[in-house]
């Protein structure tokens, strides 16, 4: 057993407002530079839709992530020799237009315009060429289903569903998917980098691009199945989400989660067994990856685990944080949260609690499972998104959420707590009353101190900090 700690995030999609507040501070602080205009380390997509960059989920196009054969992992885009032989022209690289061509406006024209009969108008201007341009696509083009009647059929999460049916007005459904780098346990971006510039931090698992070693071979961009490494077209190097490590190191949470208006984000530490990473990632059936991933997570209250972890040098601060970690609870203990596209086999570490959605008919005399099938968002769609197509874990999470609501209603409004609700929902006995109240606190009340439990980093040697400025992940 090789115990490692990992910084993780859980997003409760049931409460996401799609307000984009999370994206803004991230953009302002990390990517408001030339060459990075088009980068959104955090972006919020409306689903269904093809997202940002276009079709990022379609690995038939970009060939990101891993494939598995005989319990061994292979990069989907080809191994070391294949990669080096095509290094001059990476065939799987998206072009900037898949994200969007960045633009601004000639605001000065408003001031310098001579007096005219009509108000002066300003035209969009490409930030690459400086010439005026026609806007074709933007960072959030499909917001609230805009144009999805056309793009939606290409959404891969409709696999096994009649996409056309769900793109009709009467059947349409919608949800938000805020996305950031997953800080994967088996990061395909790092494995794809010929220079070895991408690395995982030993202490907290944050994945960074070493700017001093990046040579611009740009295989990380295509290698990441989530398309969360961005190529800076001005500097010629890659950049990605840094999990706000300058903040987390001092115990503060990331900016996206601190600013989240819906208070849907949880940040904390989990412990896992690093020796079993490839075993979990290479499960023959993609549906087995999620359970295998939960299985390699370790219980931070288990005395054996604690003893081993201490021996292996994991700091007390991290162990304590793991014990109080909201993400450990949501991912492993209860478990309500699910990984985004586990079938990409990178073992992502930003997980999602699936959203409930409006019921189309009444719930009376219906079993929980029937009720779920009656929700506006097809369970199969969520399963394709969060469980490699396996409906069982999605149903389990949604049932938890439904039972939680019904039970709290009986407790708070009707003042007659009805424990049978929990049993009827087909829940295992693990979800007893104190746990329900705890989950309620965490998900519904969601106090700041409960959402974010972040250990400070061990005190680094600060002598050469100035010299190293600009190396670790961002300019």
């Amino acid at each position: 057993m090789k115990i490692k700690a990992q910084m993780t995030m859980v997003l409760n999609l049931d409460k996401c407002l799609g307000c984009h507040t999370c994206s803004i501070p991230c953009k302002n602080v990390w990517t408001s530079r030339q060459g990075a205009e088009y980068m959104w380390f955090n972006n919020v997509e409306s689903k269904p839709g093809i997202g940002y960059p276009k079709n990022w989920e379609d690995q038939g196009i970009y060939r990101g992530g891993w494939t598995a054969k005989n319990n061994r992992l292979f990069l989907a885009a080809g191994g070391r020799v294949t990669k080096l032989s095509r290094i001059f022209n990476n065939p799987d690289l998206p072009q900037i237009d898949a994200y969007y061509e960045p633009w601004d406006y000639d605001y000065g024209g408003l001031v310098t315009s001579p007096v005219k009969k009509h108000q002066p108008a300003i035209r969009p201007r490409s930030q690459i060429t400086g010439q005026s341009m026609e806007i074709q696509w933007g960072p959030n083009w499909e917001d609230d289903l805009a144009g999805v009647c056309e793009t939606g059929t290409a959404d891969t999460n409709f696999a096994g569903l009649d996409a056309q049916k769900y793109l009709e007005f009467e059947q349409a459904f919608m949800m938000y998917l805020p996305r950031l780098c997953e800080h994967c346990l088996s990061p395909a971006c790092a494995a794809s980098c010929p220079s070895g510039a991408l690395y995982k931090r030993d202490e907290d698992g944050i994945v960074l691009v070493d700017q001093a070693r990046c040579r611009g071979w740009r295989y990380c961009v295509s290698g990441c199945p989530y398309k969360k490494v961005y190529f800076n077209w001005k500097t010629g190097t890659s950049e990605k989400c840094i999990f706000c490590y300058p903040r987390t190191e001092s115990g503060m949470t990331t900016m996206c989660s601190a600013s989240c208006v819906g208070r849907i984000r949880y940040v904390g530490v989990i412990l896992y067994d690093a020796e079993r990473i490839s075993q979990a990632a290479s499960a023959a059936d993609p549906k087995d990856i999620y359970p295998a991933l939960v299985d390699i997570m370790l219980d931070p209250h288990d005395p054996d685990v604690l003893k081993q972890a201490e021996k292996q040098g994991i700091s007390e601060a991290f162990l304590k944080a793991a014990q109080n970690s909201p993400t450990d609870k949501l991912m492993r203990k209860w478990p309500l949260a699910l990984p985004l596209h586990p079938e990409y086999r990178t073992l992502p570490m930003v997980w999602y609690v699936p959203p409930l959605s409006p019921l189309q008919t009444g719930t009376e005399n219906k079993k929980a499972d029937e009720t779920l099938s009656d929700m506006r968002i097809p369970v199969k769609y969520l399963a394709n998104l969060l469980a490699a197509g396996d409906e069982a874990p999605v149903r389990r999470s949604l049932k938890y959420l439904m039972a939680l609501r019904a039970y709290m209603r009986s407790l708070r409004l009707e003042k007659t707590p009805d424990k049978s609700i929990l049993g009827q929902a087909g829940l295992d006995e693990k979800l007893d009353e104190p746990a329900v109240l705890e989950i309620y606190d965490l998900l519904a009340i969601a106090k700041h101190k409960d959402r974010f439990v972040i250990p400070t980093a061990p005190n680094p040697d600060q002598a050469d900090m100035r010299a190293a400025q600009g190396e670790k992940g961002f300019e």
């Binding site: 070895g196 190097t237 994991i314």
Partner: protein, 227 residues
Amino acid sequence: MSGFVHILGFIVFPYIALTIFVLGHAWRYVTDWKRWNAASSQFLHKDSLKGGITIFHWGSLLTLVGHAGGMLIPQRIYDLFGISEAAHNFMAHWVGLVAGLLMIAGGGWLLVRRIGQDRIAANTSVHDYVLLALLLVVSGLGLYNVVFTHYDVLYSVAPWIRSIVVLAPNPALMAPVPVSYKLHILSAFVLLAYSPFTRLVHIWSAPVTYLYRSYVIFRKLPGTKGA
């Protein structure tokens, strides 16, 4: 060529160029590490790059290997392996022809793209243009020599290069060499001296370690012994 100019061209200038080459790279690596990369433009425009960049690079790599093999290794050694002078020249001729054609076709393609494609042009520096032009000049002269001037370099240019490398320059070896060869060599030294200030620095970061390093790298925070 008068004796003085000859010495200037085939002792003084090569060493100046090599000095700039070495110090230039060191200076660039230390002061401008943020731009030590291939400055890829593929992200801005994919389709126009593909064919050109590929043939250009295979041509360049072939050229590098060819020059290293043909110039730095003495004919004596080839004789040991039963490769006669005639066979060596025959090989050099055909490899040179292919490599030169690839480089010129590819380089021309890339230059046209840099000038003609809006986005690429907007993101191209003077250095990028000069570099491509210089590469075309050097490889153009090289190809000219392959095709039109059948001069045996194995006992003239090659030993001269080796004399430069081992710091015992012997410019007399270069005296009988045709002008087109001299120009090729001098322009190549200009390219060497210029290269540290261009994107050619990416050559020295060719990622060969990728062939054997472990896929995922873990790194500890500097100055700590783990979390």
